[in-house]
Subunit: 233 residues, 2 copies
């Protein structure tokens, strides 16, 4: 039995792939949305498409938002991505990979898409623990967006409420990987690296690679993606 | 003396031009942002650029967001724009010109832009009276977005709060026009029509034209833009 339609924001990384598997496991009929916001790691979008197909999404929608026009981030500009940092260093300050208002832009796009296909459930793979430095990954932020969504839309006003699901928000990276493996997520199809090599291999040294490698190490499973080198956080 | 930097969302219509004049009159150093969301009336973007220049914006930034990918609206799709309606008919239901989550997407873009240029004040020309059918034009919606903005951003988290200004929200169209005329807004440069003719003339029959014409009629001033015909709401 279907729980109804859901929109899942799919970045191509392992978090959002797991969020999608959780939505599907909960019985939702999933439409995946990948937003191309000018990130340098466009390989993520191909990963997202493959993950969506592999996991039985009924629809894979892409949307262009030119955040490069206004961004100031090492993910959209020519600022160096930090490498070889410890988790303590990662969490000491908001990192240069922070894209101004990114999750607000992404969730706004998901809300527009959801309203247009009459979905009321939106899943997003944000995580408060591994990204302590990102303000828009916190539970109070997600709650505020849900409030906004129901004031912003025709559906919300008419009493047909939107729900924003962030099922990974309090999970560790290892916990997310375990849950994904339980649900059959094929992590070979995911791409987390902020600066993949031209041949598609992950760098193994940026924050995203280091957190991912540490998560797989904690679970005791080899990360199936290819790396230039496998760093230690 | 400058009140600091502000971002003004400039659509090209008369409301946002007046909001920009109000921001400038309050002493802000104004950066204008026009979001191209695939609306059919792209003439608005040219109007926005001319208005920004005429009113001394320090910057005019455009940003592309492909809402056509997800939209279901007569402003972005091939759905007929309603014409010749009375104000009562306009307000009876959410109109087909409603773009899902539009103001949420626009304000998210403005927030990203504002954070990237270190502006903390965002002006938007939404109006609750003339657009009673649009949920995202209400004061409670604007307040919820301000709350979200301060949870979403590095600046907000660090205590440097964003303020969302909607100075027209409780004004009538006639009141907006009077205020704009007082502040020297050149309304010839504005474009409100949902379906302008190829030569740029406004149709005079869509909701936006009818509300505008009625506003000028109430003020007792001739609307300086060119119309195919001047309808009566």
């Amino acid at each position: 039995m279907s729980a109804g339609k859901a929109v899942v924001l799919l970045s191509g990384g392992l978090d959002s792939a797991t969020a999608m598997a959780i939505a599907r496991d909960a019985g939702f009929q999933v439409s995946a949305l990948s937003v191309n916001y000018g990130q340098r790691h466009a390989a993520e979008l191909n990963s997202a498409r493959r993950s969506a197909q592999a996991m039985g999404a009924v629809q894979f929608q892409t949307m262009d938002v030119d955040l490069r026009a206004v961004g100031k981030s090492s993910l959209t500009d020519d600022i160096a991505v930090p490498v070889d940092r410890t988790v303590a260093q990662m969490n000491a300050a908001i990192p240069s990979t922070y894209v101004p208002a990114r999750n607000t832009v992404l969730l706004s796009c998901a809300l527009a898409f959801a309203e247009s296909i009459a979905a009321r459930d939106i899943f997003v793979g944000v995580n408060a623990l591994d990204y302590a430095g990102y303000p828009d990954c916190r539970p109070e932020y997600i709650a505020a967006f849900e409030t906004l969504a129901n004031l912003a839309t025709k559906a919300g006003v008419e009493g047909d409420r939107f729900r924003i699901h962030a099922p990974l928000i309090q999970m560790t990276k290892a916990g997310i990987i375990r849950r994904g493996l339980d649900l059959g997520v094929d992590f070979r199809l995911t791409s987390s690296c902020y600066q993949p090599a031209e041949d598609g291999r992950a760098c193994g040294r940026c924050d995203a690679c280091l957190l991912r490698l540490a998560g797989f190490a904690e679970v005791g499973v080899l990360d199936p993606v290819q790396y230039v080198q496998r760093g230690n956080p």
